[in-house]
């Protein structure tokens, strides 16, 4: 059934009261939303929370999806909002100074070498080390495809500020990615 049913049909099933339809939507999209949330929040626990919020909000608002964008795109936007909302209330959010201990990334691989895993871990660590406001702007724009004005509305600052955060965030990210990685313990798993 799942392979032949579109997201839109599953959403319609949920609107008619079928939980299995929504569960299938969760299975299809959970990894992508989690990856987005992980990059935005910088730690796996918050990413799980944001992912859960995303799907519950989508369940609640299923009837408002109008089909202008694909279900996946719509859900992605909700994921960005949910992650942003979760970040906004975190202690220290107002400061641009990241707390490296709080932002500890996922653990590095214990053995073997895989270029993909290395890049993933390095990127996770670098993103987690970015000041949260920079990280949020970079992820929203570069991964979430949100335009500057949408990010500005969402975060309540001017477009110029958003452009500046994205530019500075990327440059800082590039510096962090150039630094040699030193696997540290994760405090989040």
């Amino acid at each position: 059934m799942a392979g032949e049913t579109t997201d839109e049909e599953l959403l319609e099933g949920w609107l008619q009261g079928r939980q299995d339809s929504f569960s299938e939507l969760v299975r299809r999209h959970e990894d992508r939303i989690f990856a987005l949330a992980l990059r935005m929040t910088g730690n796996r626990s918050d990413a799980l929370d944001a992912t859960q919020d995303t799907f519950l909000i989508a369940a609640r608002r299923a009837s408002t999806w109008r089909g202008e964008a694909s279900f996946g795109t719509w859900l992605y936007r909700i994921g960005i909002n949910a992650s942003h909302d979760l970040l906004r209330k975190k202690k220290g959010w107002e400061t641009l100074e990241a707390d490296p201990a709080e932002a500890a990334p996922a653990a590095a691989p214990a053995h073997g070498f895989d270029e993909g895993i290395a890049l993933r871990v390095d990127l996770a660590r670098a993103l987690a080390s970015l000041p949260p406001l920079y990280r949020e702007a970079v992820v929203m724009h570069d991964l979430g495809d949100l335009p500057y004005d949408a990010i500005a509305r969402l975060t309540g600052v001017g477009i110029g500020t958003i452009k500046s955060r994205i530019s500075r965030g990327r440059r800082r990210l590039a510096e962090l990615l150039e630094q040699p990685s030193s696997p540290g313990p994760s405090k989040d798993r």
Binding site: W14, L15, G17, R18, Q19, F22, S23, V26, E30, D31, R32, F34, A35, L38, R39, R44, L48, D49, T51, Q52, D53, F55, L56, I57, A59, R60, R61, A62, S63, T64, R77, I78, N81, A82, D85, L86, A106, G116, I117, L119, R120, L123, A124, A126, V138, V139, H141, D142, L143, D145, L154, K163, I166, S167, R170, R171, L173, A174, E175, L177
Partner: protein, 319 residues
């Protein structure tokens, strides 16, 4: 040799994502690449964008996946999809009371409740479909029946719309609804008094729900949306102009309540506003204004209000 026009750092930065994705026209690509040759800062940005877009996706492990699915299944117990959009603010508005649930989320071992949750959800969906009801307007109190202090208040909070939260939500044993409160719309034959309207603002469920959830930082974000919700719900020509008049007089107002009814024998439009205190919930206030309705064909210009009331939510009263 063709010289490419120079572009600024800002423009270069804007074009990096489409450059990496191969979405730029050849001329734009050349301009960006020309800029990158002499700009180490933008070249660094490009490296970061390439890393972001090229990195593999991080996956959940099995335990995380199980916990996530259990948390969602538990949350779905409280969710009944409804078709009326204006009782459901946008995703960026809603999570505040969702967050209350979020703190209960994803407990290890939550799988134990999944089967029960599934049964409850199906039973709830059946009850909901059986009730045939969609919420027409409401606070997070599920219509507020039984919570207001008087028959008038119950009528005001319920309206004549038959509005109720879905029955399954009302009857769940720990069913703090997850919806963010939205403006309540009351249409029809409701008899109003000034005393009732004041009491509605001071102790009515809608305003108390707003006071629990919203603050001054929400006003700008929600004002337009809640205004449109009232406009859709009441569909009266005076509504828009009178909302503008009231918000113009008190810009920090968040529309929370709209009613068409009768006061002292006259047909009136009533609008209630939640006014968040800048120093915390203790000083949240309400304001209720009412205007006389005119006959058909009259210009839709908002007159001076016939009356108003206001005061702190939860205690005290003033005219």
């Amino acid at each position: 040799m063709t010289l490419q026009p120079a572009i600024s750092h800002e423009r270069c930065s804007e074009l990096l994502v489409p450059l990496v994705r191969g979405d730029l026209a050849p001329a734009e690509t050349a301009s960006v690449e020309g800029h990158l040759e002499g700009c180490t800062g933008c070249a660094g940005e490009l490296a970061a964008v390439r890393s972001l877009l090229g990195a593999p996706v991080e996956a959940m492990d099995d335990l995380e996946r199980a916990r996530l699915r259990a948390g969602i299944a538990g949350g779905l117990r409280h969710e009944v999809p409804v078709a009326d959009p204006y009782v459901h603010p946008d995703p960026d508005d809603a999570p505040r009371n969702l967050r209350r649930a979020s703190r209960r989320r994803i407990q290890p071992g939550a799988w134990l409740g999944v089967a029960a949750a599934t049964l409850i959800l199906f039973a709830g969906a059946l009850a909901y479909l059986g009730s045939g009801g969609l919420v027409v307007g409401g606070s997070d109190q599920g219509g507020g029946a039984g919570t207001a202090g008087s028959a008038e208040e119950r009528a005001l909070e319920d309206g004549d719309t038959g509005s109720r939260a879905p029955r399954a939500m009302d009857e769940a044993p720990d069913s703090r609804p997850l919806r963010a409160p939205a403006p309540l719309v009351v249409r029809g034959r409701t008899e109003l008094t000034e005393k009732t309207l004041t009491r509605l603002g001071r102790t009515g469920p809608t305003f108390r729900a707003f006071a629990r959830v919203y603050g001054s930082d929400d006003v700008g974000r929600l004002q337009g949306r809640f205004t449109r919700a009232l406009e859709r719900g009441l569909d009266n020509a005076l509504l828009g102009p009178c909302l503008n008049q009231a918000i113009g007089a008190q810009p920090e107002s968040l529309p929370a309540y709209g009613a068409l009814g009768t006061l002292d024998g006259r047909r009136v439009l009533v609008l209630g506003f939640f006014i968040p205190g800048s120093q915390g919930p203790a000083v949240h206030r309400f304001s209720v204004r009412w205007w006389g309705l005119r006959g058909p064909g009259e210009p839709a210009r908002c007159p001076q209000p016939l009356g108003s009331s206001g005061g702190p939510i939860g205690a005290g009263e003033s005219r």
